[in-house]
Structures are given as structure tokens and as C-alpha cells.
């Protein structure tokens, strides 16, 4: 009889559930795809339900439920910090205690009542160990240095591990309140974006600026000679203020903060250019810090491979630089590197690290979520009076032709993606050659800021003709996790997906793991000679990726998309 381990993350942001059957991933899903609340933090009851349904088992068959944190350690850190920052923490202490004493501290009871698993069958994995496991056990490497960088877990904000076979051993860690993740979030807030949501926007904005605040940044984020770092705790206030991550000193150092929602016109407005320069400086400081940590990791754990996880590992520009300039021959990043990935890591840690089972194959595809049932889809389309054709297996070729005609296409195919990136299961696709298309997708399809870039998807064999992808990034580029230069001669032909700094967060599509998406790219190539497409996540502003046909049709109806492909059905625009 197979053994089942259910990994759970949640209660901060990006709650998720992952089910392993004898160590093999059966299903993995984020709660937001079910609740439709972006970054949903609630205990992932519906995601877990989906995982169990996919395996066809009741919850009583689950051998172990593994939570991705040790809440008592976290509580210890919160109380200890309140003591150390007395009396400045007078505003944050009552809020945090109300939250913790009223609910979060009693996790064992809450998990029991939410999931129906007996407390004797629960394990709790340290937050950073969950991240480390999510990167290492999913990677193809037997020996690796593992680096985790995020906001904060229990105490660790950055941690280094040695992965060997089925074992992960701690090497060293940087502790709260010193945190690169929180440094980046503080700058995100300073630039008028929401923390835990707007970090991608800072990355996009950075390309429009010059890093002329390098010196100021080096005072805020100080790299030491031991390969570590510390932050300026006189400027940052995340350890004692409930809502403001920085004091007024930050504005004195970096100039006035950006008001949320201010139009961004860097070449016309000096203040916007100033903010772009701040973004560029913060991004450069983060990249330097990450490279500094990676070099230390290589010295402390001299393995040819580096595995990365934690929210900061979703900074694709940093990953691109680590692959190009870092000392490791191979880079592997968990596709759901943020807290969602903790669910996968916690489950895998229990299976391999605690229960001592040998490693399985590496993660090769992110198509681990819900699938669209074709009969339900046909019924739904008929009920809604949609105009549609059933193309069945010919959908990729027809979609390729639609794209060649300049249409903006939504593509829903198979199981949805694990992690924040759309990789050809829930994507909006368009012709990558024209900058006007990109502008249209930003303005009237996704309703998002015009400075945010779009990513390209390219057929594996053609990638070297368009992009300068270092060998170390072979795996990260499959999951759209690293940014690389677009070759100068290819930039004009890929205007919609080449960012202002000449780079792109490219996805290299492998025909083995994404056969239908590869066929779609092939059809577009046949019509245009270009084996590349603009690929952005199929969601509208402020919403998670679409999951079901109903989500897809609702997003389709509310945007300016031309055509929707829904698991083989081609749906015309609904007016």
C-alpha cells in the first residue's frame, strides 16, 4: 500500500498543498487558484482536497501532514524582538499578539480541525529547511550547495545548506532582523508598490534607471568580509513597526517616496526617473549581495551545483547574473521559490530527510495542478451560449495561425502550473515581433503598468539563435526563472519581449515535457519563421492565474483578448 505525505504551507502568504505518493508528486496547487484571492494565505483546505481527489484517497489515508514552519520558534522570535525593541514596538506588539494568541499559535489544533489529520501524524519543518528541501530534492543534483534567501522564517532570513544524497545539513545562517528579502520589500514600499506583490514591478522599473545610489544602498545593505551581510537597523523599522518597513531616514537618504499609482514616465518626469534610479540601485545592490552570498556558498560547500529557493530566488535578474557570473556550473531554482514551494519542500523533507527514503527523479514539469475536463468545458460553453469550435488535438496548429495573424490568444491546456509563472498551460500569447502588441496586452488585456516587460517562450533548439543563455541556466530557463540578454541581432525582431535593457526572462520550451505548447510554437514558426512567442500569465490585474474554464471565460469576457483556447475548444470573442 503506498505511503502518502501531504505538505502544507500558509498563514503568511501563498498557501499551498502538495501530495506525495511514495515520494512522487501526485499533485501540487496553491490555494489562491481555488479561492481566487491572489496570494491567499488561508490554510489550503481546497488545494489539499484537490490533491487528495487527484490521488483518489480520503484524508484518513494520509500518513503524514507536514507544515512548512515551526510556529513556536516563530512566536519565540516575535516576543524576543518585542522585548529587544521596547518601547518602539508598542504598536506592533498588541497587533501581533492578538493575531498569535487568538489564532496562529494554536496551529496543531487548527490543522487538526481544518484537515482532519490526527495531531500524532503531523510534522513541522523549519521554514528555511522547507525552502532548502524544495530546491534540492526537486533538482537533479546529488551534491549541491543550497542557498535560501527570503524575508524571514522562524529566525533565519538567509541560510546555507549542504545537500548530499537524501541528506540536507545546515551550514550557516543570517538571522532576523537582517534580511535581504525585507530590504527589497522596504524599497518596494518606498516606490509605492504593495509589499509581497510589487517586487516584480521594482525589477521591471529598475531597467529604466541608473544605479546612481549605489553608495547609499551599500550603507543600507552592508556586505561583510566573511561572505555575509547586515542591514542598517537605524533606517529600517520592519522589526518594530507594524506597517512601515523604514523610518524617515530612508526618504532622507533616497529622496521622496513614490505615491502609489503615480504614472511612470521616466523620460518626461524627473521624479519618475529618480524613482527608476532608486529601483535600479536597489536591484544592483541585491544582485551584488546575492553574488557575494553565492561565492561564499561555493567556498563553504564546494559543489558544482547551487540550488536556490526563498522569495528572493524569484528575482529572475539576480538568477541570470548568478548563472552568468557565479562560480557554479549548474543553477537550480525551485519554480515556486516563495512560500508556496515550502509545502513541496516540507513534504519532501519528511519523505527523504526524516523517513530516510532515497531520492526520486528531478522535477521536469510544473504541470501539477488542476486539469480542465473537456466534457464539462463543452457543457459550460453551450450553457453560456459561447461561439466555439471543437478543434481537439488540432488546437495548437490553429492557435499558431491565429497568433501569426496578430491575434492575442489565451491558451488553457492541461494541468495548471505550479508556481507564479505561466509556462504554456494558463498563458496569454501574442506575436513577439511588434512592440504595439505588447502595449496592447499591457493596456487592454492585463490592465497593468506599461513599464512591465513580457517574457518570451522559445523552442529549445532555437534558443541559442535569439538568447545568450549560459550553460548554468539550462534548468532555470526552462521554468522562466532567469533573465538573459537577447542577442543584439535578434532584438529588433523580438521588440515585444525585449526589455528596455536588452534582456528577457526567457522560457525554453522542451518538446518532451510540453509537447502541445511546443507544437503551438512550431505552428507559429511555420507561419512566420519565428519560433518565439510572447507569453504572459493568463490573469487580470489583482487576480491569480485562471484555473477553471469558468475563470478563463470570465477573464476572457472582461478583457480585450481575441481568442480563447480552452483545452482544445476555440472560443470566439464574447460581446
Amino acid at each position: 500500500m503506498p505511503s502518502y505525505v501531504l505538505g502544507i504551507s500558509g498563514l503568511y502568504h501563498d498557501a499551498a498543498a502538495v501530495l506525495l505518493e511514495d515520494g512522487k508528486i501526485v499533485a501540487a496547487a496553491q490555494e489562491e487558484r481555488f479561492s481566487r484571492l491572489k496570494h491567499d494565505a488561508a490554510l489550503p483546505v481546497r488545494a489539499a482536497q484537490y490533491c487528495l481527489e487527484t490521488a483518489g484517497i480520503p484524508v484518513s489515508r494520509v500518513d503524514w501532514l507536514v507544515f512548512y514552519e515551526k510556529p513556536l520558534r516563530k512566536f519565540e522570535r516575535i516576543v524576543s524582538t518585542a522585548v529587544a525593541t521596547f518601547p518602539r514596538s508598542w504598536r506592533s506588539f498588541p497587533r501581533q499578539m492578538h493575531h498569535w494568541l487568538g489564532d496562529r499559535l494554536w496551529l496543531r489544533a487548527n490543522l487538526t480541525s481544518a484537515f482532519g489529520v490526527s495531531p500524532e501524524r503531523m510534522m513541522f519543518c523549519e521554514h528555511h529547511l522547507s525552502h532548502a528541501a524544495s530546491a534540492f530534492y526537486c533538482s537533479p543534483h546529488d551534491e549541491a550547495a543550497i542557498l535560501c534567501v527570503d524575508g524571514v522564517g522562524e529566525w533565519a532570513t538567509t541560510s546555507l545548506w549542504r545537500g548530499s544524497g537524501s541528506a540536507i545539513e545546515p551550514v550557516s545562517e543570517v538571522r532576523w532582523p537582517h534580511s535581504i528579502g525585507l530590504f527589497y520589500s522596504a524599497i518596494t514600499a518606498h516606490l509605492g508598490f504593495a509589499v509581497n506583490e510589487g517586487e516584480y514591478k521594482v525589477m521591471g522599473m529598475a531597467a529604466y534607471g541608473q544605479p546612481r545610489f549605489r553608495e547609499e544602498m551599500s550603507r543600507l545593505l552592508r556586505l561583510d568580509s566573511e561572505g555575509g551581510y547586515s542591514v542598517d537597523l537605524d533606517t529600517f523599522s520592519w522589526h518594530w513597526h507594524p506597517t512601515e518597513p523604514a523610518t524617515a531616514r530612508l526618504a532622507r537618504l533616497l529622496g521622496p517616496p513614490r505615491f502609489p499609482g503615480t504614472p511612470f514616465t521616466p523620460r518626461l518626469d524627473p521624479l519618475a526617473q529618480h524613482h527608476a534610479d532608486v529601483a535600479a540601485s536597489a536591484q544592483a545592490a541585491t544582485e551584488e549581495a546575492l553574488l557575494h552570498l553565492v561565492r561564499h556558498a561555493h567556498a563553504a560547500v564546494p559543489a558544482p551545483a547551487l540550488c536556490l529557493a526563498g522569495g528572493v530566488a524569484l528575482n529572475a535578474v539576480c538568477n541570470g547574473r548568478i548563472a552568468a557570473e557565479g562560480p557554479h556550473a549548474h543553477l537550480w531554482v525551485q519554480p515556486a521559490a516563495g512560500d508556496a514551494g515550502g509545502a513541496m519542500g516540507a513534504a519532501m523533507w519528511a519523505w527523504h530527510g526524516v523517513l530516510g527514503n532515497p531520492r526520486g527523479p528531478a522535477l521536469r514539469s510544473c504541470a501539477l495542478g488542476r486539469e480542465v475536463a473537456r466534457d464539462r468545458t463543452a457543457e459550460l460553453l453551450a450553457d453560456l451560449g459561447a461561439r466555439f469550435d471543437d478543434l481537439g488535438d488540432d488546437a495548437p496548429e490553429r492557435a499558431g495561425r491565429d497568433l501569426a495573424e496578430g491575434k492575442v490568444v489565451a491558451w488553457v491546456d492541461g494541468r495548471e502550473e505550479w508556481g507564479p509563472r505561466a509556462l504554456g498551460q494558463r498563458s496569454i500569447l501574442a506575436d513577439p515581433r511588434s512592440a504595439e502588441v505588447a502595449e496592447r496586452v499591457n493596456r487592454s488585456v492585463k490592465f497593468r503598468e506599461p513599464f512591465r516587460p513580457f517574457a518570451p517562450s522559445v523552442r529549445a533548439g532555437a534558443a541559442p539563435r535569439y538568447f545568450d543563455i549560459p550553460a548554468a541556466a539550462a534548468s532555470t530557463s526552462r521554468f522562466m526563472l532567469s533573465t538573459h540578454p537577447v542577442l543584439p541581432e535578434a532584438q529588433a525582431g523580438l521588440a515585444a519581449v525585449t526589455h528596455v535593457d536588452g534582456t528577457a526572462r526567457v522560457q525554453v520550451v522542451d518538446a518532451d515535457t510540453s509537447p502541445r505548447f511546443d507544437r503551438l510554437l512550431g505552428a507559429f514558426e511555420e507561419a512566420t519563421g519565428v519560433p518565439v512567442l510572447l507569453n504572459t500569465s493568463f490573469n487580470l490585474k489583482g487576480e491569480p492565474l485562471v484555473s477553471t474554464p469558468v475563470d478563463a471565460l470570465a477573464a476572457f469576457a472582461r478583457s480585450d483578448l481575441d481568442t480563447l483556447y480552452l483545452n482544445g475548444f476555440r472560443v470566439e470573442r464574447m460581446r
Binding site: 510534522m123 542591514v231 472582461r558
Partner: protein
């Protein structure tokens, strides 16, 4: 309850809409409610057994999405600040404001109860908007927005009423169900108040605990230094894995 409710709405609206900055918050709350309602309607599209109603639910969901965008647009035009800004951007606010819970309304209520709830909620919204317009409380642009939205709300009331009447004609106790929904809405408002009041009082007591409990330990507390540190870890044994949770 009708006359009493209208009088109550009039008094509350007269006060609330005249406080500076308050209209933004109220409009943000409307935007949140519409977003929450959209999620409920999409869940109904997904789950309904009555295929004939699917298209109506879907149209209703799209209306709610449009209304949410219209209200959010008004919040921005009026100069959103603080919580109002967050409310229109952040999904977490839907949970905080109690607009969405662990399950959707359709999942909790089932088809008929859901329809009677839709009728009650939409009729209440119509009444609320009519009071606001009659008292000329919103600015002219917001009033124009409310007029546009009212047309859709009348349609929602109308289709929900048709379905409720159909169910009543089939012998279902719909009148009782609608009365229960009305009282449930009052109960939920009280629970929201209770929760907010609890947070306030809890904050007071915990603030007191901070002064008398945390203060005396100040000299013992220290922040961790920066740089790499040796990790303190419990290991990967099964016994260690089951602790600290």
C-alpha cells in the same frame, strides 16, 4: 422592517457621507462587496445544477466585476488614501472585511437559498443606492456611476425574484428563507462589530501587557547580530520533526 430600514439607511448615510474622506472608504467597501459577489456568482456558474441559470449567473458575475471597477475608479478619482487604496487593490482585504470566507455562498447555501439571498442582497443594495441618490449625498460623477449600476441591480433583483417566486410556487418556504437571510445579515453585521470591538479591547489589554510584562525584561533582550551565524537546529529525527508545532 422596510420603513425602519429606510429610515436607518437615511440617517446613517446622511452622517457617513458627510465626513471628509469617508466617501472614499464607503466606495472602496462597495468595490470590495462587488468583488466578493463576483466570486460568489462565478462559483454559482461552476456549481449550479440548473444549466438554464448559468448564463444569468455569468452575466451577473461580469456585472459585479464591472461595478467593482467603477467603484474603484471613483475611489481613485476622489483621491484614495490608506485603507481605501488598499481595499481596491489587495485581495487580502476581502478576507479582512469579511466579504469572503472559507467557502463561497453557493457552496454554503445551495441553489434555492442562494437565489433567495441574491434577491435580498440585491434589493437591499437597490434601496441603499436609491437613498443615496434621493438625498443627493454622492458627488455628481459618483451619482452618475450609481445610476448606471442601479440599472444592473434592478435586473439582478428581477431575475432573482422570478426564480424565488418559481420556487415559492413549487411549495418551497421562500418567504421564510428571505426573512432568515435578512436577520442573518443583521447577525453578521453584529458579529463584524463584535470582532472589531474585540480587536480594540484585546489591543488595549495587550498594550497594557506590553508595558507591564515586556518592559521589565528590556535589559535581557537583544537583537541578533548581522553576518553568518552558526545555526541552532533540532535535526531531522522523527521526534524533532514532531515538535515545536
Amino acid at each position: 422592517m422596510g420603513l425602519f430600514r429606510r429610515a436607518w439607511l437615511t440617517v446613517v448615510s446622511e452622517v457617513a457621507w458627510r465626513i471628509p474622506g469617508r466617501p472614499q472608504r464607503l466606495l472602496a467597501a462597495f468595490a470590495l462587496a462587488e468583488r466578493g459577489s463576483m466570486l460568489d456568482m462565478l462559483s454559482a456558474v461552476e456549481l449550479t445544477e440548473r444549466r438554464g441559470l448559468r448564463k444569468l449567473y455569468f452575466r451577473h458575475a461580469l456585472d459585479e466585476a464591472r461595478h467593482a471597477a467603477l467603484f474603484a475608479g471613483r475611489v481613485r478619482s476622489l483621491g484614495a488614501i490608506g485603507r481605501a487604496e488598499a481595499a481596491i487593490e489587495d485581495s487580502g482585504q476581502l478576507v479582512e472585511a469579511g466579504v469572503v470566507a472559507g467557502t463561497t455562498l453557493f457552496e454554503r447555501l445551495g441553489e434555492e437559498e442562494f437565489l433567495s439571498f441574491v434577491y435580498v442582497a440585491e434589493a437591499d443594495a437597490v434601496e441603499q443606492f436609491e437613498v443615496l441618490l434621493a438625498r443627493r449625498l454622492p458627488d455628481p460623477e459618483t451619482a452618475a456611476t450609481l445610476h448606471r449600476i442601479l440599472k444592473d441591480e434592478h435586473f439582478h433583483v428581477s431575475y432573482a425574484r422570478t426564480e424565488v417566486e418559481r420556487a415559492a410556487a413549487a411549495g418551497r418556504p421562500m418567504r421564510r428563507s428571505m426573512a432568515l437571510h435578512r436577520w442573518r445579515r443583521v447577525g453578521q453585521a453584529w458579529l463584524r462589530f463584535s470582532s472589531d470591538f474585540g480587536a480594540l479591547m484585546g489591543g488595549f489589554w495587550l498594550g497594557l501587557a506590553y508595558v507591564v510584562g515586556v518592559g521589565p525584561f528590556r535589559l535581557l533582550g537583544r537583537l541578533e547580530p548581522g553576518g553568518w551565524q552558526r545555526p541552532e537546529r533540532g535535526g531531522s529525527s522523527l521526534a524533532a520533526a514532531r515538535t515545536e508545532g
